[in-house]
Amino acid sequence: MGSELKVPTMAELFAKGEQPEVLFWVGCAGSFDDRAKKITKAFVKILNKAKISFAVLGTEESCTGDPAKRAGNEFLFQMQAVTNIEVLNGYEIKKVVTACPHCFNTLKNEYPGLGGNYEVMHHTQFLKQLLDEGRMTIKGGTFKGKRITFHDPCYLGRANNVFEAPRDLIKRLDAELVEMKSCKTRGLCCGAGGAQMFKEPEKGNKDINVERTEQALETQPEIIAVACPFCNTMMTDGVKDKEKETTISVMDIAELIAKADNL
């Protein structure tokens, strides 16, 4: 199974008196969800290969509180936030990277008001920066000419105006990026945001993820690229609903890059 993952924790580094360049905030999905764990590992493989000095909080990490806040439970959110901030500040964290747009948004926008000030990056931004700075390279071959459409996560795109970093990465794979009719600022939600991931949808005539998957299928993609563990679940389910799972795969951008590099 390739070489072993090197995943130092903050506690380990701290004991050695070391400070990593960046904290990788794994998030609940990235830690526990079987599909999302693959994204986590793909991202770690890339970091390992590029020899990036990073660490995770491991068992000291706890939910950012995003789903509680969007559900309306401000109290629970702030309890989570203040507890996490205590841990982060205790380790004097300056820079955080995460593969979850919900964690990204909450850490970046809602933690500062509660005393948590960090430079927060989404993993697509971080990877793009590594490429721009020449600290890693992407091999083109694997996805050359493949039709890839990108589904904008609401909390990355509209919520934080990050539209180009993920697209830039797809283009660097030499893939053919095909846009859906609703994309970027007008991208359609996958249906998971606002704590919807954790409940049954209200009555309607269709599931949101199916609607979005139909838009994606219109572009006749070979791969639907995503950049959020929840979008990943929703789009994967959508593709299954359309019985297209044998021909179309749903992959996180980190997974695409890891695969291109045979990691």
Partner: protein, 441 residues
């Protein structure tokens, strides 16, 4: 007797403007019923937003066809209203075309008003067709039946009537000028209304004067009527779009406000130095109500939002919940909020300045829980809104009330929140297993 007309005009003008001022006062009183919120920051950016969105209509042209038609009507109305200045002076002083001495410039002005009037007519007709013949989806949603539908059409009829009155007034005037009638100075150029002139061929001077005066009076009283119609209509946006875009949210769309009252409590709970025996004496202020169940729990910018809503439905047509047949419609959230604050305002008026509990509230009586829980907080609505309205903030405030005051979240969400509370994750996994993925292959 000779001043009768001038006096009559002055009275109508004072009544029209006075009534309008009264409405504006009521409007501002109602908006100020909302909670305070600090929006005094980042002035330059706020002015910029107003210039772009309200003045420049940048968000309208995201959909080019209605966007361009709307700009025509908007520019047309602003510019043609320069003519109102002349009408008012003429009306008060008994002059006729008092700006005529401007000569060529005057000709140019009148000519451009006429061309714009024609373009407005074209745009208004197309708007009517979109609403009534093509029946564009976003105009036929459930919240658009009854008054909102009639309001939308009525505005178009009024605009059409005003433009036709303006052109007929000019046409009759043009004919009178040809006949060298007294009082009718040779002024203006009439690229559009001259084509109406043949209708008046052969009419006597007196008859023509009657037509011209009637059109003139109807036009100006029509404008005053329209001004007073605004308060009761979605057309209020022509005024409120400006302050509303100025006060619109500047933060990243994903950033939701942290409740200060909650922060205090949380800090107290987690502060190891806090003395558990000190305090809750009688002087602690009554705990603030969390979230919103009625309009008075919202802040004034949210209420301003509600009055500004143009009911265009751009938000609803991009809403993932609405697109998939759920009851939630962000436009309806705004319309309900406006209807309720109006009701509260009327209640206050009827009860000598004090709100008497009417057994109703925004939650349940206007906005159902089913609508609130269908939102994915995706911000498609706030992105789509051409005038910077934030329906999502109202949805979130109401969810806060449901969860923090009523413990009335859907049961799945209660499970999720219980998990976060106990294990630090929305699923029932142990926090100590958070790094297990590292060992799994």
């Amino acid at each position: 007797m000779e001043y009768l007309q001038n006096i009559l005009f002055a009275i109508i003008l004072i009544l029209g403007i006075g009534f309008f001022a009264r409405n504006i006062k009521k409007l501002s009183r109602n908006i100020k019923l909302g909670k305070n919120v600090d929006v005094s920051d980042n002035r330059p950016q706020r002015w910029g937003n107003m210039a772009k969105m309200a003045l420049g209509q940048t968000k309208m042209v995201v959909r080019p066809i209605p966007g361009i038609l709307h700009i025509l009507v908007y520019v047309g109305f602003i510019i043609i209203n320069l003519e109102v200045l002349e009408i008012v002076i003429d009306g008060l002083l008994g002059t006729h075309r008092v700006f005529a001495p401007l000569g060529v410039l005057y000709d140019l002005l009148i000519a451009s008003f006429e061309i714009l009037a024609l373009l407005v007519i074209v745009a208004v007709v197309l708007f009517w067709v979109r609403r009534n013949i093509i029946k564009l989806q976003r105009f036929v949603k459930p919240e658009m039946s009854g008054w909102p539908k009639n309001d939308g059409n009525l505005i178009l009829y009024i605009e059409l009537a005003l433009m036709f009155l303006f052109l007929s007034m000019n046409a009759a005037d043009f004919q009178l000028q040809q006949l060298n009638a007294d009082h009718y100075v040779q002024a203006g150029s009439f690229p559009v209304s001259q084509f109406f002139a043949p209708i008046f061929e052969g009419m006597s001077v007196n008859m023509l004067i009657l037509v011209e005066r009637t059109a003139w009076w109807l036009h100006i009283t029509g404008i005053l009527f329209f001004l007073n119609y605004l308060y009761y209509s979605k057309h209020l946006h022509i005024l409120l779009a400006f302050p509303n875009t100025y006060f619109a949210k500047l933060d990243a769309k994903g950033k939701f406000r942290n409740l200060d009252a909650v922060t205090q409590e949380v800090m107290l709970m987690l502060d190891p130095d806090a003395d558990p025996y000190a305090a809750p004496a009688g002087d602690t202020p009554e705990p603030e109500k969390f979230g919103a169940s009625d309009v008075l729990d919202l802040n004034w910018v949210q209420l301003l939002n509600a009055y500004t809503c143009t009911e265009c439905g751009r938000c609803t047509s991009e809403c993932p919940a609405n697109l998939t047949g759920k009851k939630l419609s962000p436009r309806k959230i705004m319309m309900d909020t406006r209807d309720r604050i109006e009701e509260v305002g009327r209640n206050i008026d009827a009860n000598k300045g004090k709100f008497e509990d009417d057994g109703k509230q925004l939650l349940d009586d206007y906005i159902t829980r089913e609508e609130l829980w269908a939102c994915t907080s995706c911000n498609a609505c706030t992105e789509a809104c051409p005038v910077g309205i934030d329906p999502l903030s109202i949805i979130m405030d109401m969810r806060q009330y449901l969860v923090m005051e009523q413990s009335a979240a859907p049961s799945d969400l209660n499970t999720m929140m219980g998990n976060i509370e106990n294990n630090g994750a929305p699923w029932p996994f142990n926090q100590l297993d958070r790094l297990n993925w590292k060992e799994e292959s």
